[in-house]
């Protein structure tokens, strides 16, 4: 049921008394209101701004948040008001909807924030009043187009497995995807230019022998021009066939405008080849050569401005149609008038009405060649009226076309700009994302460090460290940690780059030797720390130093069940692998008191189904059997 009509329901129900005497059957029982509340004022506190309204006002729309019992979730017992942590400005429009029954869209509001608020309060945007609906829809469409543009750009991203055909098609559509495409692009452009210039130069009169009249270059150097033409047409044919082959939907490609232009550009040549030098047909043959000029339209693949112009003309079709129609009307009127006005004068050029068309067109477009001029007074008067009206008729639709062109052109500019900015944006987003994953790994190390510190009891550093992570972060990290623990064989999060690096290098390093000292089978090592993993962290001079550290330890495990050591990757600035190996073989001075450089912990990968025994002894160390952790600090 629509909006404010709910307010009339009591009246309609009361007026139903009118049916009662007429009714034959007993009436159904009326629904009773459980609590007959007096209408009361309720306070809606939206981010501090208090709105007050009658409860009945809100009850008008029972399928929204404020009208239903859903608002009870937001009731604050202490202050006896409903608190919503939302935008108070948009809430104004929402509340006005309840009051007046009309939802308005404020123009200064961002469309997506408005949509979100509406969604929160359970109001369907379709009921926006007519006064604001158009604006709302326009903004929404713009936004959607922008999103679609972004998505389309995403599609350009290279898919890992593209068939040769798809690669070729992509190369054709976007020349900057590969060098080959770019070369092809420029070559075709060059040949189009050559072909067009050839056509033009063909008709220029070259020098002639003294006793002959001037001949155009085309006839003088027939062979050369023919070769040039052949070369161009061959290139165009090859290009067309390649595009046809690569097109994802051949049928659709063949119907597209560009392909038709391609065909029209090369067809005259082939027809000319087929036709003989017959006298009758050569007239048609000459006509066909005109079509060669269509090759210039092939440039529209190369120029975006040209495409925009074409698109503008297409979108302004109605304006152009109107222009044409009004011009035709005016031409006919004025031609008739001029013809009859000039009929009297002798030697008048206005021999018939169609002959006067030429005069009218030339005058209305203010060309004024002067090959036909009126001589009578009446003719001159009407001629001047004709030229004045011509100016008006042409000037009217032109700004519409111009504004259309400008709008489309700017849209394109904006799209290009957005695309350029997007790369920078994505890079920044990626940095912040890796920052957060770095933070996790960093905090893990800090967690271990904290345990080490507990034993070293250096409280100041502990406090410093604990300050650096907020509660939210620490809970997030704990969650990630739990996920790590859940996985079989304790997979760990690592940095993306290192993962990729190690994946590539994995085949290269296989340390066959087994580290004797830190075999996992040995169980506990007799250290005061009672850990299988011997980890020590250098005392951080200050918390921020953590960020300067080589961010990640990278592990990559070979799940091959062989007793191989995992590869170890460390930031190249720190110790080399060989030196690490050396360190491994050292009997690590497991002096918890000392703060030494960490040693590598290498454990032998065992088959995945193992119970991590002694896990209880590892408070936080994720060093299970098949994990190598190196922290190079």
């Amino acid at each position: 049921m629509a909006a404010g009509v709910a307010a009339w329901l009591p009246f309609a129900r009361a007026a139903a008394i009118g049916w009662m005497p007429v009714a034959n059957l007993p009436m159904p029982v009326a629904p009773t209101e459980k609590s007959k509340r007096q209408d009361e004022l309720i306070i809606l506190n939206v981010s501090g701004r208090r709105f007050q309204t009658w409860r009945n006002t809100l009850d008008r729309y029972p399928d929204t948040l404020l009208g239903s019992s859903e608002k009870e979730f937001f009731y604050n017992e202490e202050t006896k008001e409903y608190f919503f942590d939302r935008d108070p400005d948009v809430f104004r429009s929402v509340l006005n909807f309840y009051r007046t029954g009309k939802l308005h869209y404020p123009r200064y509001e961002c469309i997506s924030s408005y949509d979100e608020e509406l969604a929160f309060f359970g109001i369907v945007p379709e009921i926006i009043g007519d006064c604001c609906y158009e604006e709302y829809k326009d903004r929404k469409r713009e936004n959607a187009e922008r999103l679609m543009d972004d998505q389309e750009d995403n599609k350009d991203a290279k898919l890992p497995n593209m068939t040769f055909r798809e690669t070729m098609w992509r190369a054709f559509e976007n020349p900057h995807t590969s060098t080959m495409a770019l070369v092809f692009y420029y070559v075709t452009g060059f040949f189009i230019a050559v072909s067009v210039i050839t056509n033009v130069v063909e008709t220029v009169p070259c020098g002639s022998a003294p006793n002959q009249k001037e001949v155009p270059c085309g006839e003088r150097y027939t062979v050369a021009f023919f070769c040039m033409d052949t070369a161009c047409v061959m290139i165009f044919t090859v290009e067309y066939l390649m595009r046809l082959f690569a097109a994802p939907s051949r049928y659709r490609f063949m119907r597209s405008v560009m392909s038709i232009i391609d065909v029209v550009a090369i067809l005259p040549y082939y027809i000319g080849l087929v036709m003989t030098d017959n006298e009758d047909v050569s007239g048609a043959f000459v006509t066909l050569r005109v079509f060669r000029v269509f090759r210039i339209f092939k440039f529209s693949r190369h120029s975006q401005g040209l495409r925009i112009l074409g698109y503008t003309l297409k979108s302004c079709a109605s304006e152009l149609g109107f222009l044409l129609f009004s011009l035709t009307m005016a031409i006919i009127i004025f031609a008739t008038v001029m013809f009859y006005a000039e009929k009297g004068s002798s030697s008048s050029k206005f021999t018939s009405i169609p002959a006067s068309f030429w005069y009218t067109i030339v005058t209305m477009t203010t060309l004024g060649y002067g090959d036909m001029v009126p001589k009578t007074i009446a003719g001159k008067i009407f001629g001047s009226i004709c030229s004045l009206s011509g100016v008006l008729v042409i000037a009217l639709p032109v700004p519409v076309i111009v504004s259309n062109f400008s709008r489309i052109y700017h849209q394109n500019q904006r799209a290009d700009k957005r695309r350029a900015q997007k790369k920078a944006r994505l890079a920044r987003i990626r940095i912040s994302k890796t920052g957060s994953s770095n933070a996790f790994l960093h905090s893990k190390r800090n967690g271990l460090f904290n345990e080490a510190l507990e034993l070293t009891s250096s409280t100041e550093e502990e406090q410093r460290l604990s300050k650096s992570t907020s509660l939210l972060e620490s809970q997030h990290h704990h969650l990630l940690h739990c996920l790590e623990k859940t996985t079989v064989s304790n997979h760990e999060f690592v940095d993306e780059q290192y993962y990729q690096q190690s994946y590539l290098d994995a085949g290269l390093q296989n340390y066959p030797s087994r580290s004797p000292s830190l075999s996992s089978q040995d169980g506990m090592t007799g250290t005061c720390c009672t850990r299988r993993s011997k980890k020590h962290h250098t005392p951080l001079p200050n918390a921020s130093a953590a960020t300067h550290m080589q961010p990640l330890t990278h592990t990559h495990t070979h799940q091959q069940g062989l007793q191989e050591l995992s590869t170890i990757h460390i930031q190249p600035l720190s110790t080399s692998r060989s030196s690490l190996n050396m360190r491994v073989d050292e009997p690590a001075p497991l002096n918890c008191q000392s703060s030494q450089i960490t040693t590598a912990i290498i454990s032998i990968p065992t088959p995945p189904v193992t119970t991590p025994e002694g896990d209880a002894h590892l408070p936080a160390g994720p060093a299970h059997q098949n994990v190598v952790k190196v922290s190079a600090l």
Binding site: W8, P10, G18, V22, A23, P26
Partner: protein, 220 residues
């Protein structure tokens, strides 16, 4: 310049016939609708005239003023409201009759006083008052008796509100049959009209009707 629909070009041709002023958008030869604003008399007077309490009148007026800021409802609004409550059928005729019943001053608009006085009769009046009001509703020319034609009109309007999508499907003679049964019940002296006395007498004897008179008492 988007392509204009037929309607738009047709309406704009009115400009050429000089009956339509495109600048103000008003139709020239219609009388100007003055923006009248009705204000009801004081709330205390209304409390005296009706059986509503002050608070109830406040609630009623707030709803009324919200829907009709000008202070008076016209027949169009009535029809609109009813068409929204009864979307399946055509309720315009019934809304018209109802409007006539509410418009006690016969000035084409129902202001708040008319509205609230009628509501007071319907909701807070005695059964006799309610029956009187119903009789007044049926009596289209307000001459004190209901003729068969009047009743037929009323009946048709009620059945029109139902619309044609009913189960079992509506027979064309259903209104007429209903009118016949009504007259059979009400018309004691078989003179072809139902007077107020006959009406009251019959209704007071019918338990169903008496019970249903009280059904909407707690609407406000």
């Amino acid at each position: 310049m988007k392509s204009r629909s037929q309607d738009q070009s047709l309406t704009d041709s009115r400009e050429l016939d000089r009956s339509y002023d495109p600048l103000t958008g008003s139709v020239a030869d219609d009388s100007e609708l003055s923006t009248v604003c009705y204000r009801p008399e004081g709330i205390d007077r209304l409390v005296q005239q009706t059986n509503f309490s002050k608070k109830e009148l406040q609630v009623l007026y707030r709803g009324f003023k919200n829907e009709c800021p000008s202070g008076a409802v016209n027949e169009e609004t009535f029809k609109n409201i009813y068409s929204q409550f009864f979307p399946q059928g055509d309720s315009s005729m019934y809304a018209h009759f109802l409007f006539e019943a509410f418009d006690t001053q016969n000035n084409g608009a129902v202001n708040f006083e008319d509205f609230v006085i009628s509501l007071s009769i319907i909701l807070r009046g005695s059964v006799t008052d309610k029956l009187n009001w119903a009789f007044n509703l049926y009596d289209l020319n307000k001459d004190g008796c209901i003729t068969r034609e009047e009743m037929t009109d009323i009946m048709h309007s009620i059945y029109d509100m139902m619309g044609k999508y009913t189960y079992p499907s509506m027979k064309d003679s259903a209104p007429k049959d209903h009118v016949d049964s009504f007259f059979q019940k009400m018309d004691r002296n078989n003179d072809g009209v139902v007077t107020i006395e006959e009406f009251l007498e019959t209704c007071q004897k019918d338990d169903n009707i008496m019970q249903s008179m009280h059904m909407f008492d707690n609407v406000i």
